[in-house]
């Protein structure tokens, strides 16, 4: 596997990991009895995400890695629907899609 492929894989995995970390933090707002547990899990998972993303930057230029991080908005939206039962209206999906395109345009030309 090439260095670029490893870097891209690390960024994609880090966005997935961030999605789960964010879901755990949201869980802390939903379950007051286990609030600290969810916060602890969320922080732990987000720490793993930081290590993965920092590792990815060793294989990829920031200009390549940064646009890929906007995938986290899609991951968070999908996991919010799947694991939290949030209602994602078509307008919210359109918004996430526009953000994905817009952030990619900003970062790709940085």
């Amino acid at each position: 596997m090439s260095a670029t492929a490893i870097g891209v894989l690390l960024v994609v995995v880090s966005t997935m990991v961030e999605g789960f970390g964010q879901v755990f933090l949201k869980k802390s707002a939903l379950e007051s009895m286990r609030r600290n547990l969810w916060i602890g899990l969320g922080v732990m998972v987000l720490t793993v995400e930081i290590v993965l993303y920092s590792g990815a930057l060793r294989f990829l230029a920031v200009s390549t890695a940064f646009p890929l991080t906007s995938l986290s908005f899609v991951m968070v939206t999908v996991l919010s629907r799947w694991l939290l039962g949030e209602v994602i209206t078509p307008k919210r999906w359109i918004g996430v899609g526009l953000i994905l395109i817009g952030t990619s345009l900003i970062a790709a030309h940085a």
Partner: protein, 143 residues
């Protein structure tokens, strides 16, 4: 008027703080990562991160971000709040122009407009679709 279309002031302030800390974090992190040793070992990178002074600032910003973010999530869906943080891409880009004298490409201006329109789309959807403990009265009904 649909009450969900009006964001409470504390949620707006929380989202603004989230964007501000995310912007600062990206700029500081970018500086810190540039100073890491040139190695492909994840263990060595993790060790270097643990010993680099600039990452103390990163951790401080992350702590502020975490406390603020938990407050935001008490009052909004995750899928509603998270897209707002994309505005930090815009603020980082604009700060680079105003303070670092970097040039902004025409395509980046298009990107900024597209991000802002995306956030506007999300902002016009209901901020909560599931009940959080902070949004419930002791009887369990929504505030």
């Amino acid at each position: 008027m649909n009450p969900e279309s009006h964001l409470p002031a504390r949620l707006l302030i929380g989202l603004a703080i989230a964007i501000g800390t995310d912007t600062a974090l990206q700029l500081v992190w970018k500086t810190g990562v540039a100073d890491l040793p040139d190695t492909t070992s994840i263990v060595e990178i993790a060790s270097a991160v643990a010993h680099a002074p600039i990452f103390v600032v990163v951790i401080g910003l992350m702590a502020i971000q975490l406390v603020n973010w938990l407050k935001v999530l008490d009052h909004a869906d995750l899928s509603f709040a998270k897209p707002f943080t994309s505005l930090s891409y815009v603020t980082v880009c604009l700060l680079s122009v105003f303070y670092l004298d970097e040039r902004i490409a025409p395509m980046q201006l298009v990107g900024i407009a597209v991000v802002v329109s995306g956030v506007w789309c999300v902002a016009s959807t209901p901020r909560t679709t599931i009940a959080t403990t902070a949004e419930k009265t002791p009887e369990g009904s929504l505030r």
